[in-house]
């Protein structure tokens, strides 16, 4: 399979994720769309690792997965904190920073 197909799939998934971030208003779904974009980057990284016969791209993909896990951790913590404070779970409503 030609490697450009993988990169096209990567670009398609990235675009879908970007559109999701713009369209949806639930922070949970926005986090899911961020995951889509990170995974699209992972496909591209692994395709390039295959292209250059160099496993360093796979290391990069693993680090991206670690960063994605951290982002999920913090993001879900924020969602739970918002829910506990009885605030609306809607990114259009939560616009101010409170201490």
């Amino acid at each position: 399979m030609n490697l450009d197909w993988y990169l096209v799939v990567s670009a398609l998934v990235f675009s879908i994720g970007a559109a999701g971030v713009l369209v949806r208003r639930n922070p949970l779904v926005i986090l899911l769309c961020l995951e889509l974009m990170l995974n699209a980057a992972n496909i591209a990284l692994i395709a390039f690792a295959r292209m250059w016969n160099n496993a360093e791209g796979q290391i990069f993909a693993i680090i991206v997965m670690v960063v994605a896990a951290c982002e999920v951790c913090i993001g879900l913590g924020l969602v739970v904190a918002i829910f506990r404070r009885r605030l609306p779970i809607d990114v259009d409503e939560i616009r101010e920073l409170h201490g």
């Binding site: 399979m1 030609n2 490697l3 450009d4 197909w5 993988y6 990169l7 096209v8 799939v9 670009a11 398609l12 998934v13 990235f14 675009s15 879908i16 994720g17 970007a18 559109a19 999701g20 713009l22 369209v23 949806r24 639930n26 949970l28 779904v29 899911l32 889509l36 995974n39 992972n42 496909i43 692994i46 690792a49 295959r50 292209m51 250059w52 016969n53 496993a55 360093e56 796979q58 290391i59 993909a61 693993i62 997965m65 670690v66 960063v67 994605a68 896990a69 951290c70 999920v72 951790c73 913090i74 879900l76 913590g77 969602v79 739970v80 829910f83 506990r84 609306p88 779970i89 809607d90």
Partner: protein, 222 residues
């Protein structure tokens, strides 16, 4: 043969991604993302990245998605009524146009990049490419510093999540005191704070009741 598998996995990945964006119920969106991640793992296998594919299935589609499912179950599966109203028609149109423009631009950037290997299947690889041996070797020799930094990042994220999701009092209330000793001993069994301060700082002291078996107020959402 690899073409067949590529198209099955690629179409699965794209359909999963579309499902994440289009489905109303966040719970089904999470399930669509799990399907997407499994399809991606198949793509990774086609690209000779066995270790990353296994990590994708176990860590991502397993652990991280379970975290998502827990939070969706806690916050509430379906969106509240005021969220049902779709985003304005104008914003949706603009978002779709933006995504299309982004896809076209990325495709032009990729396909016109002039990389010679793009039109081929890539070089022939050794048998150990992408195997756990090679990944582990690289992680512990050449990329030792990023490996350790990643572990610190995970630790910081775990502590941050605990701090963020902890139950806090309102603005006027005093901050809850929470220490490790609280979890290792029952109530009112003799700390210096209780002896000096009379009633426990956590709960009113009840004589003769033996507060130890009294259910503790849920602090921190245990």
């Amino acid at each position: 043969m690899s073409e067949v598998f590529f198209f099955i996995a690629g179409i699965g990945a794209v359909c999963g991604a579309v499902g994440v964006v289009m489905v109303r119920n966040p719970f089904y969106a999470v399930l669509a993302l799990v399907f997407h991640l499994l399809s991606l793992a198949a793509l990774f296998l086609l690209l000779e990245a066995q270790f990353v594919a296994a990590a994708q299935v176990v860590v991502y589609a397993g652990a991280v998605m379970v975290l998502y499912v827990f939070v969706v179950a806690y916050v509430g599966g379906s969106e509240p009524a005021q969220l049902r109203a779709p985003v304005g028609r104008g914003q949706r149109t603009v978002a779709v146009l933006f995504a299309l423009a982004l896809f076209v631009e990325l495709s032009i950037a990729i396909l016109a990049s002039g990389l010679k290997a793009l039109d081929s299947d890539g070089p022939t690889l050794g048998a150990s490419f992408g195997s756990p041996e090679q990944i582990g070797d690289l992680l512990l020799t050449e990329f030792l510093l990023p490996f350790e930094v990643a572990s610190f990042l995970l630790l910081i994220a775990a502590v941050g999540a605990v701090v963020l999701a902890r139950r806090r009092g309102g603005i006027g209330e005093e901050a809850e005191r929470l220490s490790a000793i609280d979890f290792t001993r029952p109530l009112n069994t003799g700390t210096m704070a209780e002896a000096v301060g009379g009633p426990s700082s956590r709960e009113p002291f009840e004589l003769g009741v033996g507060g130890g078996d009294k259910p503790r107020e849920d602090e921190g959402g245990w």
